[in-house]
Symmetry: C2
Subunit: 341 residues, 2 copies
């Protein structure tokens, strides 16, 4: 593949690490990054070291960026010598988007239609390229689908749910399913110990809380930092999730792997330990063409962090999206649809 | 993806099962099949039931087809009511190849350059489409690369090593590597119990024997059936392989996953039991961007047969090849290169 340049919207936990991991990918050049208060654009490639230093510690409780770090009065991206302060960062990136091959959306999706509406704004500006996000919720996929025609008209290839789960594990499930002509069950169970700490992953933790019994996205969004910390205390820092509304289900169904109803996602999050509270596994059960039933498994080493398992796959799916976009395949794609299945 | 039609060269163990598995893939229509003595072509789609019945038991000791089953004096494909007898089956398929999207090469590769030369013949005929094979040996990839320019000029996308290993497991390794920015080791260990029996997998077994210490492809090819059976007796039907020359190594290297030298392939074949003598596993060890070392693993259930694990992936890679070919990406591709990495 020729060189690919990309922008990152958001320099919270995911956005910063995507920039970090991309340093190991010679084909990928970051040319734009923004947060709420600043935008940095350099078509020859951003100085990632400087940008990471400027944004270090600047992760807000909402997963965006707030006034934690200050350089000459500016905070977050705006503190970078490469950046300009702005009140309209996304507009600024959209205005500069011609010639940007891909945009990684590393913003939390606290309103279900936030990312779908964001995609629409790129389409309104006639952006032709790839959008990638790491969204989690099943219902968001439907909201993207509703906008598929507009994305297609603009020449946008939208790769949704391209983080760890859905994303890495959905893709692994699609591969594990290759032994079978009929997939009966996909069980995804994740374990996350926050190596990079709660403080550096506030958006992610808040989004996860919305999956707990008795909570939803609105209540989680409305919680104060103190309330979140009290909830974490109550659970000794360990949150367990069953039957999560994770888009792995609809994304596997749209790739033709199995019915959404046959997919279950659960996990355990420990915000106080680097150690994973449980091993992340994918179990795919099906029938082979010759009449046997079996379960193929994929397991991630406990030593691999959530951060590593989100960002490697996200950049891989970004490149796969570029290939589709250049082949004229526009619209909405899930990770499993990008697998050779 | 639009409908894809395909031809199968060879109706030995792999070819027949590819036709069988393809019945579960609505997007795939088999339109041609041949063996040494017959060729069947129907652009509306072959009657697979009839063809499988006609070729049943007709697996020759060389993995091709010999006079085992007879219908009205004809044997193998020629025994099918859909077929014509021929002395030049491959030429016949090449002559009919315009409009055939993909050709699955399910012929044993007893001469290292047999499949590369076969690809050349398709290129000489200006075939524009996908060729897929399930070859195993590392050195064949180099012979294909030497012909890449001719394949490109013709419009051929050649997907090589697209069976179980290399193929399924190489692809799984590429996915498992996504946690890491530096892959240090890939260990592939396969177990095969011949559910479909030695008689139905003679070509595969003979090719495997060539990997044993003291044997090579020439000696294995020159062995009589009696000699092979004596060798199997000597080992109680169980053959163990270490450090095999399996193309997983060069195929992972060309996809940029790791150095070929960091890949090891071994396995155990039991020709007398349906039970796998060992579980098929892929172990990928590497370093994450945040400095941890870990090993991700992929394991196939012992209940999944070699046949299931070859043919599902082969057809998946065939479809991925079609996508590349239609996007104008010609040349030689390994399975890992078709992953979203």
């Amino acid at each position: 593949m020729d060189d690919v340049n990309f922008a990152v919207l958001g320099t919270g936990g995911i956005g910063r690490r995507a920039l970090d991991v991309a340093r190991h990918e010679p084909a990928l050049t970051p040319v734009a990054a923004c947060d709420r208060n600043g935008v940095a654009i350099d078509r020859d490639g951003l100085d990632v070291d400087e940008l990471l230093a400027a944004t270090e510690g600047a992760v807000a409780s909402d997963g965006g960026v707030a006034a934690v770090k200050q350089h000459g009065g500016a905070t977050g991206v705006a503190a970078s010598t490469q950046a300009e302060p702005t009140g309209a960062p996304i507009e600024d990136v959209i205005a500069a988007s011609e010639g940007i091959d891909a945009v990684l959306v590393a913003l939390p999706n606290f309103e279900h239609d936030f990312i779908p509406r964001l995609a629409e704004r790129f389409a309104d500006a006639e952006y032709a390229g790839v959008l990638v996000d790491v969204l989690k919720r099943s219902r968001v996929i439907g909201l993207l689908d509703e906008r598929e025609e507009r994305l297609e008209a603009s020449g946008i290839t939208f790769v949704c749910g391209a983080g760890a789960t859905p994303g890495f594990l959905t893709g692994a499930a699609a591969i594990a399913a290759q032994s079978f002509v009929d997939v009966e069950e996909v069980e995804i169970r994740w374990g996350v110990g926050l190596k990079s700490g709660y403080e550096d992953n506030r958006g992610t933790v808040r989004e996860d809380i919305a999956h707990l019994d008795g909570y939803d996205i609105e209540t989680a969004r409305g919680m104060s930092d103190g309330e979140i910390e009290a909830l974490l205390d109550e659970h000794d820092g360990v949150l367990e999730f069953e039957d999560m509304e994770h888009a792995d289900d609809v994304l596997l169904e749209r790739a033709g792997i199995c019915d959404a109803a046959d997919v279950t996602v659960g996990g355990v999050l420990d915000v106080r330990s680097e150690e994973k509270p449980t091993t992340t596994t994918v179990r795919v059960t099906g029938r082979t063409f010759d009449g046997e039933r079996g379960t193929n498994t994929f397991a991630l080493d406990d030593a691999t962090s959530m951060e590593a398992n989100v960002n490697g796959p996200a950049l891989g799916y970004l490149k796969a999206g570029i290939r589709r976009q250049r082949a004229g395949e526009y619209g909405v794609f899930g990770p499993a649809e990008l697998m050779p299945i």
